[in-house]
Amino acid sequence: MPVEDLKKQQFRLLKTLVYRLYSFSPFYHDRMKAAGVHPDDINTLEDVRKLPFMYKRDLRDNYPDHIFTATQDELVRYHVSSGTTGKPTVVGYTRKDLDNWTTALARSLTACGLGRGDVIQVAYGYGLFTGGLGMHYGAERIGATVVPASVGNTERQIELMQDLHVTAIACTPSYLIHLGETAAKMGVSIKDDTSLRVGVLGAEPWSEEMRRRIQDELGIRAYDIYGTSELSGPMFTECSEQNGIHIWGDLALIEIVDPETGRVLGPNERGELTITILQKEAFPMIRYRTGDITVMYDGVCACGRTHPRIGRISGRVDDMLIIRGINVFPSQVEHTLMGIPEVGQHFQIVVDRKGSLDTMLVRVELSPEAFSDKISDIMSIRQKVGAILRSSLNISPGVELVEPGTLPRYEGKAKIVIDRRKI
């Protein structure tokens, strides 16, 4: 579609969205009122800038479903992702929302050269995490054979890949490297002994260097994928040019803003990705600050697709960590530890990459009352802390208990996270 027509369509969709939310969503109505903007003020695509931003904390404050603009009988799905403290973030979907999400991914997977006849192993987690089911629906839409392998059991994943003649895999880039290494130990070369030719990799940041390594060692083409559950889930990928992720303009309107001032930046200027989902029924998103740092590219892609492109995600504006594809907020760790009387309020998070997999260690001080020289006491506290953290973070961090008063104290901004990973 020519760029001009796409922009016209985006404007029409934006105008409709703003009118609809002003009329039917108490949350957005109040937001727009407070910002002194009325739907009639939106007369060009650039007028989107008049609308107020939306933040992750707005989702938390409206837990579980106060932002929803669909009735119970229209909702067909909930997904749940990690919140910043305590309660998770809940996203609701109507049938149309699922359809748009699936359409976005179907286009993306097609842009990666996949289609009918391909066998796609979906090795993202299924369930509340959007990666598994999202990719599953997208792959089914393009007519590929879907192997819903989900996560874990790496040797079985490799056997399935060989035995079922898998041609493409969707997983995190670090897991694919781990898979390649495990295969080598089993005496299997992904390059020579399997039919794998494409990897659709995301849910954590990775680099061009990792891409080169994966492509060379495994003999495949590796494509970057982007999305977060607030937008629906994974939605956008690179095309065969591997030069930026195409953001489908009829579904999403993107801006790059200065994270400090909120000023909209120009092409090739690095800033925070802000997204307005133009067609979303249950859980509308206007100018959502994703927290992800990237740039928007200028000009039309060599593949012919006119939809805007963004570069790789190069970091976060906040302190969110991504451990094995799962988002973890230090505030969530803090909130969880505060609820356990046996430990104090001082803690440290150490993130490392062992082999190709992320590890997370939480070091926390025992409270003076719980401090004991009996090993069995300490063991049972450690187990308890580990179990509670696992249940609130959805990952299993290591736990190290230290004596009261041994962790560093900070006067200014606390340096709670030590990230030793090199990506």
């Binding site: 799905r77 609701g92 299924y126 089914e140 054979t145 879907v146 059991n153 035995d163 079922l164």
Partner: protein, 441 residues
């Protein structure tokens, strides 16, 4: 179609098909059976040969009773066809692959065309509508997603009905309970033993679970006592679900609100009850092994598949107006175990142990129920060559063996190493499995 006599409360997803007259049903079954036999004979080399050997061809199926001319298909046949030996359509038409536990190291592979997924979802939609679920319901699907058919099967069916699906999958019991209360969940699907675990944890947390009204429990056998316990503890009505990956997955048969047996969907499956020892067909009302011939499967047709499940066809008609029912399962004709909803064959365990040089090939399996959850302990003899006297060695061997078992069984087990020669040797039929769970069926 006359609908008097059918209670007012009954809802139907596909009323014409669910209350089809027996004459029309038999005509439909025969047409579909002939098509299925032809499809298998022409497109699956295994069946081409098998039918030829038996001297029977699709043209010989003139009545439903002619089905007995066709030889049985067993799980071991599927195993021998690994991975794609039973696929009857080109891979381009296969849109989904699931796997289920095999009898040895490799899993059993099942494939689906787009139409298969559609048929499967339709059956689940019928089941859910039958027990009073509608698009207003909020459904928490607390079973394993992924390769296991229970998760995605119910997910697609519930979505078809238009319910709000929470794909909570397994694990994180506290979060599961929070979601039930926070989202006002009205219907829950999980294994019956996990449901009891959930009820106890909820009580400890002081969560009310007051919005729950319907529970769908399957993947493992459960008793009438357990139904009573589940209903009083969770404040819901509990329904039994039956199926297996070889017949798409769960949903092949399901209890209606009468809860006196499970309705099989006879337009999609032809069922027989046989004497597992002789293979003779048994009359209605007699218990035996369930044999199923799916009638609408495209990607992977099966003829007279021996399920290994023991049940009977109930003689009386159900007041709800749907077709003939089977009784709730009352055992297995083979040694398959169901541990936390996962099927385990002792032969798989043997296969794993044989591949580990650190241990011998004699073993014992103990199954217990701890806090409503199944625990499996495997005793195996250590091979002295791998023991230097260091305790560290024992831990390493134990970890390796339990890791290998987990990879094949998809199940966490406890491995106990014992002295060489200390486990019982069996001269006749080995009794390697001691199930201490008490009344299950």
């Amino acid at each position: 179609m006359p609908c008097y006599g059918i209670p007012q409360y009954t809802m139907f997803w596909n009323k014409d098909m669910e209350t089809i007259s027996s004459t029309d049903l038999e005509e439909l079954q025969l047409r579909r059976l002939r098509r299925t036999v032809r499809h298998a004979q022409e497109n699956v080399p295994f069946y081409t040969n098998r039918l030829k050997e038996a001297g029977v061809s699709a043209d010989d199926i003139r009545t439903l009773d002619d089905l007995v001319k066709i030889p049985f298909t067993r799980k071991t046949d599927l195993q021998a066809g690994y991975p794609f030996g039973f696929f009857a359509v080109p891979m381009k038409q296969v849109v989904r692959i699931h796997t289920t536990s095999g009898t040895t190291g490799k899993p059993t592979v099942v494939g689906y065309t787009r139409q298969d997924l559609e048929n499967w979802s339709e059956l689940i939609a019928r089941n859910m509508t039958m027990i009073g679920l509608t698009e207003d319901d909020i459904f928490q699907n607390a079973v394993n997603y992924g390769l296991f058919t229970g998760g995605l099967g119910f997910h697609y069916g519930a979505e078809k009905v238009g319910m709000t699906v929470i794909p909570s999958a397994t694990g994180n019991t506290k979060r599961q309970i929070e979601m039930i209360d926070d989202f006002g969940v009205t219907a829950l699907h999980c294994t019956p033993s996990y449901a009891l675990h959930l009820a106890e944890t909820a009580e400890e947390m002081g969560a009310s679970l007051e919005t729950l009204r319907i529970g769908i429990f399957g993947a493992e056998p459960w008793s009438a006592n357990m139904r009573h316990e589940l209903e009083s503890k969770l404040g819901l009505k509990a329904f039994d679900s039956y199926g297996m990956s070889e017949m798409y997955g769960p949903g092949a048969a399901f209890e209606c609100p009468e809860r006196e047996g499970l309705h099989f969907w006879h337009d999609s499956y032809l069922i027989e009850i046989i004497d597992p020892a002789t293979g003779e067909r048994l009359p209605d009302g007699e218990r035996g092994e369930l044999v199923v011939t799916p009638l609408v499967k495209e990607a992977m047709p099966l003829l007279r598949y021996r399920t290994g499940d023991i049940t009977m066809i109930i003689k009386d008609d159900c007041p709800c107006g749907r077709g003939r029912r089977i009784a709730r399962l009352s055992g297995r004709s083979d040694d398959m175990l169901v541990i936390r909803g996962i099927n385990v064959f002792p032969s798989q365990i043997e296969h794993v142990l044989l591949s580990r040089p650190e241990v011998g090939d004699q073993f014992m399996v103990y199954i217990d129920r701890v806090n409503h959850l199944d625990e499996m302990t495997i005793e195996v003899e250590l091979n002295r060559d791998y023991f230097s006297g260091e305790l560290q060695d024992l831990a390493t061997v134990q970890k390796r063996v339990s890791g290998a078992l987990r990879d094949i069984l998809n199940l966490r087990t406890t491995v106990t190493l014992v002295e060489p020669g200390s486990l019982p040797r069996f001269s006749g039929k080995a009794k390697r499995v001691i199930d201490r769970r008490g009344e299950v069926f």
